[in-house]
């Protein structure tokens, strides 16, 4: 049975314990883009968002988990909404990254999580553009790509993920996906009864065959920076190929017309010098 996580954003308090736990367990370094170096030591922090408690801004090769802070409305008007969402790889049931990887470095384990085999990846970066969530990132220092592994080393030993373990409010819960979905659907109903009309699941079976890491959101997916209806990159394969074949036929025809003539082979009678 696939393992995954249910992330209930309605009880996330934005403490970033998950982000820290992920960094620590996976031994992820600091964000290279955030520091200048002198003598091998960071001397100046830069590129922090500066206008939000969201300090990393996005997922990256060294941030496999990113706590989004979404400030909506206005405190002056009394409609301030402050959303948090602990974002990471969704380990999609239909994973575009997995499909496009030419080296088979990206693979799905028997627990349903998608991991990058670092000893196979050659840094072609096809997977980066194929991910509709901007999850996979290129690591310039290693020449390979990185992303959340769903703590593969932990879960294969029967442990829960580091982020779920560290979460103080159980906003992130690790378990069997099917069971998590039942819990999540009940939670949505509860929230709706409490007046959260827009409460909804993101990543139930309707998105890319189901996301093994899925979310309970209090507003529309776009508010949390998530695409409403992500598609596999393969959607363009057949139309792109058909148009290319059409162009090839047109080109072949026009070239044939230009060079029309009976097929005659000349073994050196003309243009001997070339």
């Amino acid at each position: 049975m696939p393992k995954g996580m249910f992330v209930d954003t309605s009880i996330c308090i934005g403490c970033k314990a998950c982000q820290v736990a992920c960094k620590e367990w996976n031994a992820l370094g600091e964000e290279p883009e955030h520091f200048d170096y002198a003598g091998g030591l960071p001397v100046k922090a830069k590129n922090f968002t500066g206008n939000s408690y969201d300090n990393t801004g996005a997922l990256s090769a060294t941030n496999w988990r990113h706590v989004r802070f979404i400030e909506r409305g206005s405190s002056l008007e009394g409609n301030m909404a402050w959303y948090m969402m602990s974002d990471s790889c969704k380990h999609c049931a239909q994973a575009g990254c997995l499909e496009v990887c030419p080296t088979h470095a990206l693979m799905r384990t028997d627990l349903g999580n998608v991991v990058v085999q670092q000893d196979v990846c050659n840094g072609c970066r096809a997977c980066i553009g194929a991910c509709p969530y901007g999850v996979i990132s290129y690591n310039k220092q290693t020449g390979r790509v990185n992303k959340c592994t769903l703590c593969d080393d932990r879960i294969q030993m029967g442990l829960e993920t580091a982020c779920a373990k560290a979460c103080p409010t159980d906003s992130i819960v690790f378990g069997e996906v099917d069971q998590l979905r039942v819990t999540a659907r009940q939670r949505v109903q509860t929230l709706k009864q409490l007046g959260f009309a827009k409460a909804q699941l993101y990543g139930d079976t309707d998105v890319l065959g189901g996301l093994n890491v899925f979310y309970l959101l209090l507003d529309e997916p776009e508010v949390y920076g998530q695409p409403r209806n992500p598609q596999l990159p393969q959607r363009n394969l057949v139309p792109g190929s058909v148009w290319s074949i059409g162009a090839a036929l047109l080109l072949g025809l026009s070239t044939l017309v230009a060079f029309r003539g009976r097929g005659v082979r000349n073994n050196g009678a003309a243009g001997k010098e070339a």
Binding site: V100, P102, V120, I128, L251, G261, E273
Partner: protein, 301 residues
């Protein structure tokens, strides 16, 4: 941007790969057509295409490898590193493209040898003896098909992402294929001029074929931009727009076409310098097109 999409950071090596691979594929395809229907006086054109295609297939491979984060693992593209067995992935353009490049290299090498033996530049007796018995028509056709694929799959590869300017149109493969043909023919013309080969009346046929390719390319580019709609903003804004409209459409396509037609209307034979200039402009346009289309949507230009 939904999901904060990340660009794959394909930069200059990929631009070079797309450009050179397109020329190689287009030049070989032209030669393969001539192998099938060419007249005797077209033969030097076909040979020049073969002379160009094989070396450029090697350059393509070098550029593709150089772009990898771990170039020493280039062979992982065609052989799974844990079993050492080929493991193609049919819905991964890069995987299929790597095999296509491999086979194209093989076929273009055979045709390259053919041309050398045919002209006596490779006087090695065993090859000369086998020359008339080689099934060159077969590998020309297979190589031509591979050349087509090599020139076009790069566009399909870009469309195989979520970046709007690449993914919101199915026309990139077709555009790259046509551009590969026009730049391939331009490279053949330039090669013939540099080698001081006069192919007589065959010049007109080569130019006519290239003109057709350029006209189709202009139409495709316009349709592609219209198809993209607002997603074409990254291609048309600022320097990108100047390079695409000014560099690609005007300098790389309209000016060469005007020069060719002007010479045609006047009934005069173009001078070698004019033909060379036209070829260079077409090549510059082809390079700029790859540059803008690859770099601009990633915010790298």
């Amino acid at each position: 941007m939904p999901g904060e999409l990340q660009p794959p950071l394909w930069e200059w090596w990929i631009v070079v790969y797309f450009f050179v691979g397109g020329i190689a594929g287009g030049a070989y395809f032209t030669s393969a057509i001539l192998e099938l229907v060419g007249r005797p006086e077209d033969r030097p054109i076909a040979r020049m295409g073969y002379y160009i295609a094989f070396p450029l297939s090697l350059v393509s491979a070098v550029a593709l490898i150089a772009d990898l984060g771990r170039p020493e693992r280039f062979w992982h593209m065609v052989v799974y590193s844990k079993t050492f067995l080929p493991w193609p992935k049919w819905d991964s353009p890069i995987s299929v493209g790597a095999y296509a490049l491999l086979f194209f290299g093989l076929f273009s090498f055979l045709s390259f040898l053919d041309a050398l033996v045919e002209t006596g530049r490779l006087p090695w007796a065993p090859l000369r003896e086998k020359y008339s018995g080689t099934p060159r028509m077969i590998y020309s056709i297979l190589g031509g098909l591979n050349g087509f694929f090599l020139a076009s799959y790069t566009g399909v590869l870009l469309a195989h992402t979520h970046l709007a300017a690449w993914a919101n149109t199915p026309l990139l493969g077709a555009l790259f294929l046509i551009s590969g043909a026009s730049t391939g023919m331009a490279a053949i013309a330039l090669g013939l001029i540099l080698a001081k080969v006069d192919v007589g009346e065959a010049w007109a046929r080569l130019k006519q074929a290239d003109n057709w390719a350029m006209i189709v390319e202009i139409v495709l580019l316009v349709v592609l931009l219209a198809w993209l709609g607002s997603a074409s903003a990254s291609l048309l804004s600022g320097l990108n727009g100047i390079l695409l409209i000014g560099g690609v459409v005007i300098v790389g396509l309209l000016v060469p076409l005007a020069m060719q037609f002007r010479a045609g209307f006047q009934g005069a034979k173009s001078s070698a310098n004019t033909t060379a200039l036209v070829a260079v402009l077409i090549l510059v346009g082809g390079f700029l097109m790859r540059t803008v289309i690859v770099m601009a949507p990633q915010g790298l230009l």
